[in-house]
């Protein structure tokens, strides 16, 4: 494959300092702070009562589905597309959106009501108004108003979500999946995050003071950052000048604690080193670091230690600043917003200041850019992002053409383990294949009639809520394999093994319970232990901590194809060399609220109402073929073709190659769809037997993961040689082929 450079040719920002990139940057380098009293919601009685809010935002009239988060995203995304001169209508453009709260602000008051009085008239009204703003809603709104995009990914890795969106966009450019990417993050303020960080005693009552010895915590902000990334060769052909080059990156998990960073900063230091190695840029060429710098005592000390470890002597030279004393911590947007600020520092030769820092802490011994911005030529810069659950991402942003180009890799990916949790039981690969044999009498059981509580080590699992437990169980089983005399789990201890799980709605019921306590009892009684479990990346974070997985770790969301999106994401990460193996799949906990919303939505299609929403989980171990061979792992299946498409695109079934005799292949449909039969009849797969999963695995949004685990199990048994899995949901679909080893 050809060497590739990735250029940032457009950027858009919405922050408390401004509704575009120019205004935000000018006020940032001018040292202004965006904090003011919170007026979006009641904050009386909270430790902090200020935030860096975006002013003057109006939701569109008849705002069906428009949240503040989505409005910020649209403004930033439009600015980025206009600057880059890229139109999704005339080019193959992908969209990657990172976030944590989606439309939480718009729905949280209703959630509290739903929890307290689910069956009253008020409760029913709340339900009908909800229609939910799931995390995917931002991507869906951007698709409607700026699309079409050829592929869309919604991800969450807590406070590194925005940075990871850029990484995924870059991988799509390296693999040739798209010609340009719109990637970024957006997060609006809401009661849930505000009272959650308050409960964690993580907020400074005053505007935050990153790296200062008197720092007492973070200050929340809100906003969005989106960039257009494209291959340098394409940008040159179009005659565009880049803002900067995305020269490298790395992501890893600390596997340490759900809220606290690993104090010595060893994992974070490793991520800084790996990002520079990927960029083939040495610390001696780094002239600026835009720190995560939240202002919490733990983060700033850990990050300082990590930078000193990774940069060595050069850490005494390289200037560091944090922008959070001006725009606040924008959570899921932060990684993208700050990547743009870092790119602007590179492009304009100005280092933004660290407002709030007056007396540097001895534990934060770095070269700080203090109260005033200063001019400085920047060859290369780092942008750090660290999220709950220890999901660390570092981006390297340089002058265009400064370092060597990136070396794309396209490693083959195999499946070396699989497990499912369904009403039919807790099964390994072989047992999961049997799910395809026909309906199970237990398919209606909900919640699962399985010893969930006792199957994990009680002491280590005590912080895991039910979705996290479901995920940890299938991850352990998938890693151990069917032959329990030869557990495979030692692979989990290797450093480049990560986790990616998809979930459609996250912890709706737990969020509702948390909000109810907040409204009912007041902010002092918001549960600090519950809060970290409400971010969509919490289950995968817990899985990483429980199993000690330290490679690339994040969550995806894509409605009823959430399992497919997670597995495709994991394959992309392994193929690109970002991880050697990833435990990937889907988790859907039982949710009364999600079920009632879905029944409301689909009330007219009677079949779905009759089937209660089940809970379940699935995991596959997706591993680089060379890595699996080197450790003599038992291979169940090889990943073949991957296709994904969005609303308006033609289903690609006709172009998917059937490479074995039809009698030796199977088509697996996670759920039944009208019209799918006709489409398959018009494809090379017309004569292949079709197996449906839903009747044996129940109904939920993670069935794609279960179908893929079952398919891998089927191939591992040797009865068939090729499997096609086609998963469809509203406006989106995925098709994957698995081949015999």
């Amino acid at each position: 494959m050809e060497d590739v450079r990735i250029w940032m040719t457009g950027a858009g920002l919405v922050t408390a300092l401004g509704r575009n990139t120019r205004e935000t940057w000018e006020r940032l380098v001018g040292g202004e702070r965006g904090f003011g009293p919170v007026d979006l919601f009641e904050v009386t009685g909270q430790r902090a009562t200020i935030a860096a809010s975006v002013r003057g935002i109006d939701l569109p009239d008849h705002s069906g589905g428009w949240s503040r988060t989505s409005v910020f995203a649209r403004e930033a995304a439009e600015e980025a597309l206009v600057e880059a001169g890229v139109s999704p209508k005339s080019a193959r453009v992908g969209l990657v959106v990172g976030g944590t709260t989606g439309g939480m602000f718009e729905t949280e008051a209703r959630l509290a009501k739903l929890h307290a009085e689910p069956y009253t008239r008020e409760g029913k009204k709340a339900l009908s108004e909800m229609l939910t703003h799931p995390l995917t809603s931002t991507g869906d709104r951007l698709f409607e108003c700026l699309g079409p995009f050829v592929c869309v990914r919604t991800i969450c890795s807590a406070c590194s979500s925005g940075a990871n969106a850029l990484v995924i966009g870059a991988l799509w450019l390296l693999s040739g999946k798209v010609d340009a990417v719109l990637a970024g993050g957006s997060d609006g303020l809401c009661r849930l995050t505000f009272s959650g960080f308050n409960a964690l005693a993580a907020m400074d009552p005053d505007p935050c003071r990153p790296f200062d010895r008197r720092r007492r915590g973070l200050s929340l902000g809100e906003g969005a950052g989106f960039v257009v990334l494209e291959r340098a060769s394409d940008a040159r052909t179009r005659g565009r000048t880049p803002i900067a080059e995305l020269a490298g990156w790395a992501l890893a998990a600390e596997a340490h604690h759900i809220t606290n960073p690993e104090p010595a900063g060893k994992v974070a230091a490793g991520v800084v080193r790996d990002a520079l190695l990927r960029a083939r840029i040495s610390p001696a060429e780094v002239d600026y670091v835009n720190a995560h710098g939240t202002g919490t005592p733990l983060n700033d000390a850990m990050e300082s230690a990590a930078l000193r470890l990774a940069l060595g002597e050069e850490s005494h030279r390289i200037p560091v600043s944090s922008s959070k004393g001006q725009i606040g911590h924008t959570l899921g947007a932060a990684g993208a917003v700050e990547a743009i600020l870092t790119a602007l520092a590179v492009a304009r030769g100005v280092l933004p200041p660290t407002i709030g820092l007056e007396e540097p802490d001895a534990a934060c011994d770095l070269v700080h850019v203090m109260s005033a911005a200063r001019p400085s030529h920047v060859r290369a810069a780092l942008s750090n992002s660290f999220g709950f659950g220890g999901m660390d991402t570092v981006l390297v942003i340089s002058q265009p053409d400064h370092g060597p180009p990136l070396e794309p890799s396209a490693r083959k990916v195999v499946v070396t383990g699989a497990s499912t949790l369904t009403p039919a039981g807790f099964l390994g690969a072989r047992g999961s294949a049997a799910l395809l044999a026909g309906p199970s009498r237990a398919a209606r059981a909900r919640p699962l009639d399985i010893e969930i509580e006792s199957s994990l080590e009680a002491a280590r699992a005590r912080r895991l809520d039910r979705p996290a437990r479901l995920g940890a169980m299938v991850a352990v089983r998938a890693l151990d394999g069917d032959d329990t005399s030869q557990p495979n789990r030692a692979v989990a201890a290797r450093p480049r093994v990560g986790a990616v799980f998809g979930t459609a709605f996250g912890s709706v019921d737990a969020s509702a319970a948390f909000m109810h306590r907040l409204f009912d009892r007041g902010p002092r009684f918001a549960s600090p232990a519950e809060f970290p479990n409400l971010v969509p990346s919490s289950p995968v974070g817990h899985v990483s901590i429980y199993l000690g997985l330290r490679g690339a770790t994040l969550a995806t969301a894509d409605l009823a194809t959430s399992g497919e999106s997670a597995i495709v994401q994991a394959v992309e990460l392994v193929a690109a060399g970002e991880a050697d193996a990833i435990v990937a799949g889907s988790i859907e906990g039982a949710s009364d609220i999600a079920e009632r919303i879905l029944v409301g939505l689909f009330a007219r299609s009677s079949a779905e109402v009759d089937t209660p929403r089940a809970e379940g989980a699935a995991a596959l171990v997706l591993e680089a073929q060379g890595h699996a061979e080197a450790r003599e792992a038992h291979v169940l299946a090889r990943i073949g073709e991957i296709h994904e498409w969005r609303e308006g695109a033609e289903l690609p079934l006709r172009s998917i190659r059937l490479s074995v005799n039809p009698s030796m292949a199977r088509v697996i449909l996670p759920r039944d769809h009208d019209g799918m039969g006709a489409l398959l009849d018009d494809s090379p797969w017309r004569a292949v037997a079709r197996l449906s999963l839903a009747s044996s695995a129940g109904q939920h949004e993670g069935l794609g993961g279960i179908a893929l685990a079952a398919g891998a199990g089927l191939l591992g048994e040797g009865d068939v040689q090729q499997v096609l899995i086609v998963g469809l949901a509203i406006g989106r679909g995925y098709a994957l082929t698995l081949d015999a080893p």
Binding site: A199, L200, A201, H257, I258, T259, N260, E453, A458, A459, A461, R462, R463, R521, R524, F525, A526, S527, P528, A529, P532
Partner: protein
């Protein structure tokens, strides 16, 4: 005045610790009155301390101060029970 004897308070607090911090399978009676709650002993951490402070405040209406003072109060079940009893007696 609160009539709860200190020994009963200690028993209640042990139950609260097991329930709120989800120490599954742990018999509250096996938690020693004077064993350290954090670090060694039960190995609880700062997130547990926040959760425990919230539950104690909710159950007994007693505020746990932050910072250094909290360290002393959370030293052991005995210390926590003593703080609750004193705070309630002077309320």
């Amino acid at each position: 005045m609160d009539p709860t004897p200190l020994s009963l308070l200690k028993t209640e607090i042990k139950g609260l610790i097991v329930k709120e911090l989800n120490l599954q399978g742990r018999d509250p009676a096996t938690i020693e009155d004077d064993a350290p709650l954090f670090g060694a002993g039960l190995s609880l951490d700062s997130l547990d301390a926040l959760q425990l402070a919230m539950s104690v405040e909710e159950k007994y209406g007693v505020r746990i101060p932050e910072g250094e003072e909290a360290h002393a109060i959370f030293a052991s079940v005995s210390a926590l029970a003593h703080h609750v009893a004193t705070a309630r007696a002077t309320a």
